[in-house]
Amino acid sequence: MIRLENVTKRYGSETVAVRDASFDVAKGDFVFLVGPSGSGKSTILRLINRQERPERGDVWVAGQNVNDLPDSRVPFLRRNMGNVFQDYKLLTGKTVFENIAFALEVIGKPRHVIARQVPIVLELVGLAGKEDRFPNQLSGGEQQRVSIARAFVNRPLILLADEPTGNLDPATGEGIMSLLDEINQTGTTVVMATHDHRVVNAMRRRVIQLDRGVIVRDQERGVYE
């Protein structure tokens, strides 16, 4: 589903964000990218959804070489991916329903599809009944659930999550992790960047560890260390 081949990415001329990284993620996998801040976890996610282009090497997503993709095709690549962020990136002026509907609206889905899909995904993330709330009327955990609903409403092949539990207390974070696990069970490939030991150790999934841009460990059913 995702393959990196000897990928190197630098910001400016000095800072090496990712150095010669290679790995393969099969369809339906759940992968943790771990390592301290600045180790290149986020950069890898940004390379996968083509927010960044590598300096060297190739990034493949669903059989497509992302580097060769013309800019005009990038939106269609991204329709196969959901994104979840540490800071949720919800639109504060829109209700929960509108935030999720927005993701479908801007890719041109008709209203009747939106009206059908949004309640289903709200039910899935456990927010049924809160569709008319605004983001600032929700707890952090609930906001993250809205953001996951938005990422998943289009049934993407891949879910990219960047520190999704970073702003949440452990109990709430656990809830988010079981939600991501549930989404993974539906066949969606999940790649999650985190430096949260607890969630990695509790889940026992594949772990790719980065240190200053270099992959130092790639382990099935790993722990954080």
């Binding site: 939106p75 269609f76 690549l77 991204r78 990136k89 927005f102 993701a103 609206e105 041109g108």
Partner: protein
Amino acid sequence: MIARIAYAFREMWASFRRNLTLTAAAILTSAIALLLVGTTLLIQRAFENLLVQWKGDVAMIVFVRSDATPEQIALIDESIRSAPTIINVDKLEYLDKTQTYEEAKRIFAGDPVTLSLLTPENIPSEFKVVPLTQDPALVRSLSEQYRSLPGVEDVALAEDEFQVISTLSRFVRTVTLVMSLVLLVVAVGLIWNTIRTAMFARRREIEVMKLVGATNWFIRVPFMLEGLLQGLIGAVLSCGGLWALNSAWTGGVAGFKPGTGISSLVVPSGYLSAVMVVILLIGAFAGAIGSAIAASRFLDV
């Protein structure tokens, strides 16, 4: 498809109302710029009425009496052609009564009384003479010579009548054209700025849109529509102003003494409509351009 169009218009309208002050400034500037463009076109046309007889370096017009015989006309033609070193014979032009009458319709556009006295039968025909020489005295002496020919009613010299006006018209045209171009650039700049502000205010939204896979065109179109609407509203305002200006002017001109030439300085309403269409097009175009530049420039947020 319908969902997309509805979305674009809804977003355009929401954004349009959000930045009222900036929007008003952009609209007013484009209105003033376009008003000036329109005025330039009208002034140009009005002067053209006055100068229509003298287009193309014509410096002398020999008017032939309406009752002149074909022999007399041939004689006049021959005398003019007999001085090929002074007169540009290739450019010598003869307008028969019908053609002269067509011309008169423009010259007396604002003077219906005089026009009503003329008919294609009683109007003089005319020779338009383009001299080769730069010496006005030579042209003048030639005109005296033609005046004495049988069948000639009168000889008019550009020097006496329209040299000043033609210079004036060129000057006015240049000044108004430059001013309107400058204002047009300012208007495009202001539209650019309102769109940029609108996009900056919504950068989070745009970021999310890009991440969930909205195409750049999908993001751009509402902003472009917004700019287009601003330009178009400005154009509508300036059309109103242009109409008011032209009505007031046409009314004022009627008060001048006939025969002073001022009465030629009006434009027919058909031309005014054409100018308005042009103004609307320029307005819409300028708005779309300004916002398209802004939208492309700031889409990488």
